[in-house]
Amino acid sequence: MRAAIAVAEADPSLKVALISKVYPMRSHTVAAEGGAAGVKKPTDSLEYHFHDTVGGGDWLCEQDVVEYFVSQAPVELTQLEHWGCPWSRTADGHVNVRAFGGMKIERTWFAADKSGFHILHTLFQTSMKYPSIKRFDEHFCVDLLAEDGRCQGAVVIEMGTGEFTMIEARSVIIATGGAGRVFRESTLGGIVTGDGMAMAYRHGVALRDMEFVQYHPTCMPVTGLLFTEACRGEGGYLVNKDGYRYLQDYGLGPLQDKPKNKYMELGPRDRLSQAFFFEQQKGRTIQHPTLGAVVHLDLRHLGEAYLHERLPLIYEMAETFMGLDPAKDPIPVRPAVHYTMGGIRVDGRCAASLKGLYAAGECASVGIHGANRLGSNSLTELLVFGKVAGVEAARNAKSSSAGNSASLLKQAQAVEQRVMSLKTKPGGSEKISVLRKEMVQSMEEGCGIFRVEKTMRATCEKLSELRERFKNINIEDKTSVWNTDWLTAIELDYQLDVAQTMAHSAINRKESRGAHQRLDGFEQRDDVNFLKHSEAYYVAGGIPRIAYGDVKITKSQPAARVYGAAGEKADQERKGSHV
């Protein structure tokens, strides 16, 4: 939506089709709680935000892109304020910022703990101001149209009728979000199935750094629903079965009186999720009778009033979903899948290798997250790069000619036939829900917080098997109106592609970096061989081909990634060497 607005503002004569398989205000951005990062305080600097991001990403970031990102972040967040976003404020009426994991200084703009909700609704409502934006709500995109090496449109299904429509376009922007639903326990909505990634991939565009999948350390067991990092930013503790703040044993200490950035609970997510795994190995997690192994997120010392003011949604969720009062009881939590760092490979201006195709948001790999995203960088990413994608797409549309409608239509008809045949072909026997269950189970086993060759190999094989079995699916619902049975089958098809890129990229990365951690002899980071982006290319009927691309390094040379007291020391030394 940020991109659509950018196009409408760049040139109101350009027609924009805004397509979404749900009403846009239902997009999963709605669930983001914590906030969006952008330098705000006088004591902060763009330089600090840059270093936190690049270090947090374990040096797998495109540093020139990060530099642009941090410089535009405050501008875009202010723009959103002008559009009405109710950012939380200080007593003197200015926008307030809070602490977030891995960020050295408070720079996360927040709207209570409903930041994503407010960003999304502000953009949705603001988009209604522009007559050139025509929405296709509850339209499901099934494929892109490409001809003469240019992306020239898309094919969509109107979900309410099952009718196909071809949309011709001189520029196409994909902003379909992440793909974490290929895993079992996740913080994600049912719509987060990686469709856009798979569509671009099948048109020959590389999916970059797909092995990097972020686990969020504090989620509700079983459902995976998230307790925002802001719980820790506001001073929550993580304790094991002995009531001990175990993070001090994992290079994040020593204990502080107050929450301190980059220390303890405010360390980066990958480290916190990994610490959980080791605690579990040591038998120091709590064995909950129905929820399995958990640790406790303890907010009790913050007091009821403060919790209601700063974390109202969390309060409500704990009460409704778990039947407990966070002012009186600690909350059982464990890690769950949360974010896909990788995505459609695009350059710093959001352009993919297929001309006319752009991507922004979680589906894209523009290069700011590297091997591990810092919380609150991605909401800002939507705004900064949504705008870039819109501006570039508008520029491209004005400078290119319309395509050949007749041959595009032919292509669109072929797409329609392929997609319809999923539903109409006789004699299938595989159930979608069964295939999906096997996929998510296998991804969790093979591509979890820690990875070893043997289980990754098993996952790769399982996925190939599922690809085969998918050919034999049976869709029970044969109707046209609102056929979600059929649409989920199309999603599963995409998910299998995306899962394959993740598993194969993972098994090929023989090192440990950021969110990709191995326990089978590759425990260290290996900058000699793997300071590289992985790129997965589609191979029809086969497994993805994995290639490697260079990382753009400008001013931050790879160093040890350290937090807590050790991190502070390293910062001092870096500063020392600069002057």
Partner: protein
């Protein structure tokens, strides 16, 4: 995992437009555990008994606003309503009242979306401000004047609760009026007058018969009834002032 020995009966209002002439109820026996929501119950039916069962959902955490249904006759978000609260009785799940049914539990929301669009739900600045000038300043009082009305998730439960909307589908209704009020009360906005015309129009606040059920069912404590009420007073005042000054204008 939790024990799944218990079985609850879920009665679902089914309607397949391509084969059914009218909606009918069907009963399914669903094994459940205490942490299972009604939404998970219907998902279980779809995955295990009938893949054609259709309903909207996404976030599972009561924030996307997709999963509204009538549950034992009361409009609720199915993802935050739990089966344990109905067991051992049967629970009945139906499409949201007052909206045309498209299929099973999916209703036609295009009218509602049109209403949102009609109220100009965006800041029309009172005073232009450039990005270089930074954010607008809002005092805590100014902030508190509208913040409550920003929490609407567009779940439309309040419409399913509103008897007047049931009688007159053109009534712009609780959530849209609450959103209108949200922008009118925002110190950054200067278009309240424009929006007041709609408030006082035939589709506007005077449709409301002050039942207040909308606020009761609202899962986000938006209190749309309050927004409607305030605007009734404003519209009446507006009308009165217009009457006094032939040039029109409310201030």
């Amino acid at each position: 995992m939790s024990d799944t020995k218990k079985i609850i009966e879920i009665e679902v209002l089914r309607y397949q437009p391509e084969s059914d002439t009218e909606p009918h109820l069907e009963v399914y026996k669903v094994p459940f555990s205490d942490d299972m929501s009604v939404l998970q119950g219907v998902q279980y039916i779809k995955d295990n008994f009938d893949g054609s069962l259709t309903f909207r959902w996404s976030c599972r955490m009561a924030i996307c606003g997709s999963c509204g249904m009538m549950i034992n006759g009361i409009p609720k978000l199915s993802c935050e309503t739990f089966l344990r609260d109905y067991y051992p009785n049967r629970v009945r799940v139906e499409a949201m009242a007052h909206f045309p049914i498209e299929k099973d539990l999916v209703v036609d929301l295009s009218g509602f979306i049109g209403k949102l669009e009609s109220i100009q739900p965006y800041i029309i600045p009172r005073e232009a401000r450039s990005l270089e000038q930074g954010e607008y300043i809002q005092s805590p009082e100014q902030f508190n004047a509208y913040i409550q009305f920003t929490s609407c998730i567009n779940c439309t439960l309040c419409y399913a609760a509103c008897p007047q909307f049931g009688l007159n589908p053109d009534f712009i209704g609780p959530a849209a009026i609450a959103l209108l009020h949200r922008y009118n009360m925002d110190s950054r906005d200067g278009a309240a007058e424009q929006r007041m015309e709609l408030v006082a129009s035939e589709e506007g606040v005077f449709n409301c018969s002050a039942v207040g059920y909308c606020s009761e069912v609202c899962p986000k404590h938006v209190d749309p009834a309050n927004a409607v009420n305030i605007n009734k007073t404003n519209a009446a005042k507006d009308y009165f002032l217009r009457f006094l000054s032939p040039k029109g204008g409310s201030k």
